[in-house]
Symmetry: C2
Subunit: 247 residues, 2 copies
């Protein structure tokens, strides 16, 4: 075996970090993130791949407690709103945002979809290419964000990837707060810090459940009924409980 | 400083891998990927975070040369089609897919958007939540894919993240080839192997160009004209040339 392409020591170091990345939604409120840690996280984010190498991402480091509180307030309000709409989503306690020692707001520049394969003529085919282009852009920003999360996990922090803020109301509330220009989009908030409670590993599918050889293995296919049942019976357990406690 | 949250050794190991992840689009055609490497890559993918912990991803390991050739053929045809449409996108040479030693096709199950915060009532507000949900799903799959790419880079491989296959024609061609059910989506192809030519580090924005403190730093804002100019004058250089050779 060619050892240049079998650097298992490096692989094991990575896997240790990947497996050790754990979500926390409540952090030690008194911990202060050393200033250099923000740069270290964004240095990892910076080297991610992106469609057309456009790097369509911006990161806003938020340390001001008043800003954090306003962001937490928005999410708590949104949570109440969802409850009123009877959304039935097992929402986390967004109050944890307020005291997160580390907070980085992630901004995407969707105008860079123009740099990807698109026609720009408004045709039906162009709409398919446009949708593709949006996917490429989101995947690029997610790859960059994931690198930053892994960097935080490597340092020893718990992490929280807060999504679901594409609604107009979220953008209307948060863009002025953070001085984000109208033509950019806030897409995620990344919180990190020492977990307030011991973090736990969540349930993961087995390798056999996600892998196929040569052709898609139909034993891994889920029917619409399987998915519905998963949402009703399993989702709330695998979102918040320890892997060892799933009954 | 609390050393439990300042594990710089682990961080440096990660950063070395993150910075060393380099794109190759042509690989050593004679190299055979050891069987255990596929599992090692997917083991990293398996532990990624996902919205509602739904893990809406499937990975198909392709080793059959006939399948690889058909996939390469599709992309080369698509490339010709784009040229005819005068798309002006500096497309890579997709022939490299045919002889990629490692190939993993990535499949997303968009039906899991139902497990994210949505209303499902077809209202205008629901459409916003649905769009959000698709974003969450794509970001989840990208986080998982990125973990696999980093695992390949850790082992020493060059990697290629092939996107832009959402068009109906791509799905129509490739789903039967890979036995992917109609209600799932092929979203990416991940190639890896020993690079045929020495890989090179591509241009990356500086930390100052992507980072702001407290509020978005308008010096990093690009006008529509800046973006247009970047597409015309810079894109083709930063996609394919060495960082040191950008003129």
């Amino acid at each position: 075996m060619n050892q240049a392409f079998n650097q298992t020591g490096r692989y094991e170091q990575l896997l240790d970090i990947v497996k050790g990345r754990m979500t926390s939604r409540q952090f030690d409120p008194d911990y202060v993130v050393p200033a250099e840690h923000y740069d270290m996280l964004l240095e990892a984010a910076r080297h991610a791949p992106s469609g057309a190498n456009a790097q369509p991402w911006h990161y806003i480091v938020v340390t001001d407690p008043a800003t954090k509180k306003k962001i937490a307030d928005y999410f708590v309000d949104e949570q109440r709103h969802r409850a009123k709409l009877k959304m039935k989503f097992p929402t986390p306690n967004y109050r944890g945002l307020e005291t997160a020692p580390g907070m980085i707001v992630i901004v995407a520049d969707f105008r860079y979809t123009r740099a990807f394969p698109v026609l720009g003529d408004g045709s039906a085919l162009d709409r398919q290419y446009q949708e593709n282009a949006e996917r490429i852009l989101l995947q690029s920003v997610a790859a960059s964000t994931m690198s930053a999360h892994l960097a935080a996990a490597a340092l020893g922090y718990g992490v929280w990837w807060v999504t679901a803020i594409g609604q107009e109301s979220a953008q209307r509330e948060m863009k002025p707060l953070l001085g984000v220009p109208e033509d950019l989009d806030i897409i995620d908030i990344f919180c990190f810090g020492p977990p307030a409670k011991p973090p736990y590993k969540r349930w993961k599918k087995t390798l056999a459940q996600i892998a196929s050889r040569e052709r898609f293995d139909m034993k891994n296919y889920q029917t619409p009924e399987d998915i519905e049942r998963w949402i009703q019976e399993t989702r709330h357990k695998v979102m918040y409980r320890d892997e060892s406690k799933i009954d």
